[in-house]
Amino acid sequence: MSGILASMIDGLLIGSVYGLAAMGLSLIWGVMDVINLTHGSVIALGMFGMYILFAAFPVNAYFLLLPILAAGLLLGLVIYWISVHWVIGRSQLSSLLSTFAVNMMIIGIGTAIWSTSPYNVNFTLRGFTVGAYTFTGNHIAAATAAVIIALALELFLYRTRPGKAIRAVADNREAAELMGISSTMVLALAFAIGIALAASSGALVSTLFPFTILSGAGYQMKSFVVTVLAGLGKPLGALAAGVLLGLLEGAVTPFIAVSWIPLIEFGLFVVVLVAFPKGIFTRATA
């Protein structure tokens, strides 16, 4: 019994990292109605960003999140100008395909540089032991960092002028423009924040598990699952749904073979998508 509990606590910690990744996707989706298919490759870039930075500056890996967040913001602006800016207002198909094209390019360049062999960030924090179970310091630190970033985003969106502008544009772009908000600037900012969140979640994952340039795809799918569970444009909801997914993974892991987990997750994803298109936290309205 305590085995399940330990596994669930571990799931909860990892789940908050899933939640952080999903927040990035959810923010972009909610604000500009763009499904950002570069999400997975940016998560992978975050992992390799952490790998490179940690190799250059072997300090506490969690301090390195700050430069990664900053680099993520810049990368987000670049990706926005390359692929999203031109298709805002066109059909969703266009942005789906254009972000996907950038995804292919990032993965292609990444494969050429790092091949598809696994890497890891060799950094461990000491954890603590309860009975037969050990909770590693990395899991706890990563979960804490994810929650702090999530709260910071929530504060930014609700307490600062640019954050309020983002929410205004998400609600009604035309009305926001009439109020003097430059929607292009706001969209670019929101996209950059979304990408920075994805990169930072990748950086956190890299301190937990080994990774390859293709690892991002799995986390992208998890982000979709979480976003769809939470409903759009609810950052804290995404965090909660991420934790829920982590708990679920933790709860089933002791009972079934690991190879079945993708089937459960993606099956759940399709079912939730069909049954609750507005997320499980929203009451269905007719």
């Binding site: 499904i35 390359i82 692929s83 031109w86 298709v87 969703q92 198909l93 266009s94 789906l96 395909l97 254009s98 996907f100 094209a101 950038v102 995804n103 292919m104 390019m105 993965i107 292609g108 360049i109 494969t111 050429a112 795809a217 799918m221 979709f224 699952v225 769809v228 073979a257 190879s259 079945w260 993708p262 089937l263 993606f266 099956g267 994803f269 399709v270 998508l273 069909v274 298109p277």
Partner: protein
């Protein structure tokens, strides 16, 4: 009438040439090149039914090809069915699966549907990788004696080649047939404005589920033939996400919504890919180039090559559909 359409005859001539030239020259390497081109055309044409005609992006189109391969190989090797029969049965089974699935996930619109198709692909892949009768993650092999029944491996390979060319021609004819039918008009209405289509009396749920199922049939048949020819199948090659995505690139490149565009994009992209893969300098950058190509087409030429041709020569619309 489909027989009055010049494109119909062009398709037949094109397919006949593709079948005849390598056979006449007895050129095996040309045959292997062309079978990949034919496969690309099959995938792009059938994907076109969803993306180009109905306006629904299917990221997981390859799931039909892979499942077809599995069902076909299972029937042909474990159950010892005749190859053609096994391939047709595979097509039928996969179409029915798609119909049932489509009834569920086609309630989703636009991007939500696109996401669900990724989920379906990954769920099916992980199911097959755990499914005992189909060899789990190691997959299945075709016993060499299976080729003997078709008159030896050499003969069997040429036969599958002709069959794949036939499936390619059928794919294009199917696209043309749907395009000029009333059913096709219903699909175009859904693409342009689904709510308006409902108001005008198009039963959108049924139309969408049918086209989803139809777009599964020929890729599944092709999957059964191709994997039989290759002699083996496993979950990672059967459900290769990359190939699914490249199908979209092919379609956008040639011009979505047109019969010739889908085929043209498929053929050109396949040629480009084999060139990139064999060139020593560029082999690492295949994805980058494909991505850049897709981005340029999406941003600057949403109509693809055929759309560009239409703008250049407006009268071409009448002949090249």
């Amino acid at each position: 009438m489909i027989l009055r359409r010049p494109v119909f005859w062009l398709i037949l001539i094109f397919a006949a040439l593709m079948a005849f030239i390598p056979f006449h020259a007895n050129d095996v390497s040309m045959r292997e090149d062309l079978i990949l081109v034919a496969l690309a055309v099959i995938l792009a044409s059938n994907l076109n039914l969803m993306i180009g005609y109905t306006g629904y992006v299917n990221f997981g189109h390859i799931v039909f090809y892979g499942l077809g391969g599995y069902v076909g190989l299972y029937l042909a090797t474990v159950r010892n069915w005749n190859l053609v029969l096994a391939a047709l049965a595979a097509g039928l089974v996969v179409s029915l699966f798609a119909l049932a699935l489509g009834m569920g996930i086609l309630r989703l619109r636009g991007a939500y549907f696109a996401l669900a198709t990724i989920g379906v692909l990954l769920a099916v892949q992980s199911f097959v990788a755990n499914f005992d009768p189909w060899g789990r993650s190691t997959g299945m092999y075709v016993d060499f004696s299976a080729y003997q029944r078709l008159g030896g491996a050499r003969h069997a390979l040429w036969m599958t080649y002709f069959l794949v060319i036939g499936v390619m021609a059928l794919s294009m004819i199917l696209s043309l047939g749907i395009k000029i039918s009333k059913f096709g008009l219903g699909l175009f209405a859904i693409r342009e404005d689904e709510d308006a289509a409902v108001v005008l009396g198009v039963n959108t749920t049924v139309f969408k589920a049918i086209i989803y199922s139809v777009s599964a049939f020929l890729p599944a048949v092709a999957g059964a033939l191709m994997f039989y020819k290759n002699g083996m199948i496993d979950p990672s090659i059967a459900f290769e996400f990359m190939l699914s995505l490249e199908g979209i690139v092919m379609l956008m490149l040639g011009g979505k919504g047109t019969v010739v565009g889908a085929a043209l994009g498929g053929g050109l992209y396949e040629k480009l890919r084999s060139y990139l893969l064999t060139s020593p300098k560029l082999s690492n950058f295949q994805l980058v180039i494909a991505g850049a190509l897709l981005l340029l087409v999406v941003l600057f030429a949403p109509g693809g090559l055929i759309g560009w041709l239409y703008r250049l020569v407006p009268r071409a619309r009448k002949v090249i559909e």
